[in-house]
């Protein structure tokens, strides 16, 4: 019921704006008197994010587990990357290291000139605060805050935050508590929360894992557009191989190692993908 509502809502919106669901990034365009944003894809900032020989070991007692071994790759800004791998392959570990939620055992991660692997605990907190946005499978919204407030919770502590109301295109429903929102709506709030911070990097862990096919597609569209309009790398971690079709770059990961990296010269649009 709610999913349907969302879809209808979005369709109407798309017709109205004459563009797809880019609505969440229109605030600047509006300031310019435009209805939608036009951002040139040229002059990409190469190697915006780089990983060099990154390894992570977990030690529990006498047992040492190599969660990641010698991972190296780089992304340009505006790239939409998909990290593919079965469960236990090290996807989440990779995401945690990128997101400053964990520290690498060896290697170097650099984001926009900042060496993430050299940050201390406090600096890592600031890194998460200003530079990365997270989207989780289970949304992780604060249940006692309304949709809007859930975005504000992130923007309140940020310097360059975007206007939450504009980012969160939920209309009337932005004053609802998460429990009153559908899964898709909750994930939209969660994405809005992540991007309203205006982060340098957007990390998504199975963002469509808890959603149905249609809603999932819309969410993916949203994420894909973030990379293109905000010119920031978006990394989607998933075990759903179908998603790779729309990625600029696909990173295959297996047993903690990078199996191969593919570059899609012609990524397909979400509408063409089925799973």
């Amino acid at each position: 019921m709610n999913e349907k509502f969302l879809i209808i809502f979005m369709k109407i919106y798309e017709n109205f704006v004459g563009y797809d669901t880019l609505s969440i990034f229109t605030e600047k365009s509006r300031q310019n008197g435009r209805k939608y944003a036009i951002i040139p894809l040229a002059r990409a900032n190469m190697n915006y994010l780089t990983l060099e020989h990154v390894s992570k070991q977990y030690r529990t007692g006498a047992v040492t587990v190599d969660a990641l071994t010698d991972v190296s790759f780089s992304l340009d800004d505006g790239e939409f990357a998909v990290v593919l791998g079965s469960s236990g392959a090290g996807k989440t570990t990779l995401l945690n290291l990128l997101g400053g939620m964990d520290t690498a055992t060896a290697g170097k991660i650099t984001l926009d000139g900042t060496e993430v692997t050299a940050l201390n605990r406090r600096e890592l907190t600031d890194y998460r605060r200003f530079d990365v946005g997270f989207v989780f499978q289970f949304y992780n919204l604060m249940p006692n805050l309304t949709a809007l407030e859930n975005v504000e919770i992130a923007t309140e502590i940020c310097k360059n935050a975007l206007d939450p109301v504009t980012v969160l295109e939920l209309g009337e429903r932005l004053k609802h508590f998460p429990a009153r929102l559908s899964g898709g709506e909750q994930q939209r709030v969660s994405i809005a929360r992540a991007i309203a911070k205006n982060p340098k990097l957007l990390l998504c862990d199975e963002p469509t894992g808890a959603l149905d096919f249609e809603t999932g597609k819309h969410i993916l569209t949203l994420l894909h557009d973030v990379s293109k309009t905000r010119k920031k790398p978006v990394i989607v971690v998933t075990h759903n191989a179908a998603i790779k079709e729309m990625a600029d770059r696909v990173i295959y990961i297996r047993s903690g190692c990078i199996e191969r990296i593919e570059t899609n010269e012609h990524p397909r649009s979400v509408e063409e993908i089925e799973w």
């Binding site: 989440t92 945690n96 997101g99 939620m101 964990d102 406090r122 907190t125 600031d126 890194y127 998460r128 605060r129 200003f130 990365v132 997270f134 989780f136 499978q137 289970f138 992780n140 919204l141 604060m142 249940p143 006692n144 805050l145 309304t146 407030e149 504000e152 919770i153 992130a154 309140e156 502590i157 508590f177 998460p178 429990a179 009153r180 929360r193 911070k197 862990d205």
Partner: protein, 632 residues
Amino acid sequence: MVKTYLKTLRRMFAHHITRLVSIILMVLVSVGFSAGIGMATEKMAYSLSDYYRSANVSDFIVRGAEAIDAEKVEKLRERYGEDSVAQGGVIEVKGGSLDLGMGAMLRLEGEGVGEGITRIYFCGEGTINRAETVQAVPLEGGEGERFFEASAERANRDLKGFPLGKDVILSLSMGPISMDYTIRPTSSVVSPLHMAEYDDPSMTEGEDGEYELLENILYVPVREGKTIPFLPMNEVYVSVPELKKTDLFFTPYERALEREKAEIEEIFSEEIGAETAAVLTLHENFSFESYNGYEGKIQDIGYVLTVVFLLVTLLVVLSTMTRLLEEERGQIACLQTLGYSPARILSKYLLFALVGTLLGAVGAFFASEGLAYIIYINFKWNYVLPPYSSHISPLFFIVSAALILAAAIAATAIAGNGMTRQAPAVLLRPKAPREGRKVILERIPILWNRFSFKYKSTLRNVLRYRTRFAMTVVAVMASTALVLAGLAVLDACLFQDIGTAAMLGVAVIVLVFAALLNAVVIYTLTNINISERKRELATLMVLGYHDNEVTGYVYREIYITSAVGILLGIPLGALLCLFVFEVMGFGALSKMGWYTWLLAPLLSLIFTFLVALILRRKILKTDMNDSLKAIE
């Protein structure tokens, strides 16, 4: 199957060790307190009963204005037996002289005779009211018709005592004729009738109409043929061993006492009618009656405070067990899908509650022994204490421990039953986080919009978990009230009435136990609160909230809740104080030092901050991944 089951059991205990310790501590404190107070009163009763039995204390004293009629004494002997009846006499000499009437005067001279009242007992033969010798000197010389070797009651705060071996001259004069008797105290003793260390009243009224306090007591043994004339044997002591078979503080003794008193009054009906004699029981003895009074006071205070202690503990144990079950939701569902019976699944949690309360109870048993001894030993300021009875009376312990045990088991069973009744599929899904709700304040946008969102969320949280909020408030309120009551008693004992040193032990114990309970309660509830918010805390951490901002999320709520509890605790504490003062017969709210009112809430506050400090590390150790990715 049993092996694996035992494994899960062991792991559950290891995983929830903090909870187990919380339960153990709370049960230990509250059951320990209630059993300790109960045990103390019983020990007091048994110790004194044993002592009175061995001293063969007189259950009745027939006190006449003149010599007791020998015929009637004979009647008493017939009824109670030869050994149960003894004759004696008593006079009180004020300032060394006593007008015996009809021109006869008695004078008392010698070291130790002062301005106050000296009571002299002339003791007949027999073993009744056997006094214990504290100190003795050998008798050198001294014999003859008019020489009496005597004993004196030991010196204490009011009694001066006599120097041993120094003669006291008692002279009787009538007109020009005068006769001297030499009384030489060679031993100082403690009589079971005068074991109080102070405030022992005489039978002589002072100018203010009150009985003056005794200054000295002499025991002069008289034999047939060796007496002092003019001094009548005006007392009869009756000790009935059968009566004392039951303990002296309990109803059976009281009933028997009443019954026998009526019998004796029947014998002396003539004198009693003429108001020349009275039948006294132990209740007319200051030492016994004040001791009895203290025992009653401790019992009354204990009863009321015990109720509060147990209620608070029950409340918090219930919260703990409910939360534990909630956390084990996934595991319960898993076992259900594997076909384990609800009884089998829940037995684990029942065992947890059982072990927690039982271990606490075992600790409480030993604690109560210790408490009882501390309370008892404090009475040495008030009495020459009889040997501490070895009698163990587990009644209070059993009742309070059984109550907590039954309640903990029942609550676990009810909560668990509610859970296992649900379909495993329902349990496997994460419990929907409780919906946020708007608070009334939000209707006033001018005010509400001024709050930053962190205060908004705090206020909503307080409302969202209304039950938890109420429970925490009640628990903090009650334990703060207990602390206030403890402080009030302590304050009253120390500064308002110096005659209450014995209650000091009780006051300290109430205070210490209330403070302990307060600390454990705040810790446990805060801990539960944090574990419930793990996911929200992890979300904030991922969003890049700094340590203080993350802890602040729960701490603001805890501070608000604690503050409400503490504030409400003051009036409740005042109520408890009123009751306690009423029971103790001293102390008043208006006389309480201002600092007690400040100290009780301050203590709760300090505990809250301390707990916050201790749990800070736990919050910051929250694993962002585990909390955010798991479905709880």
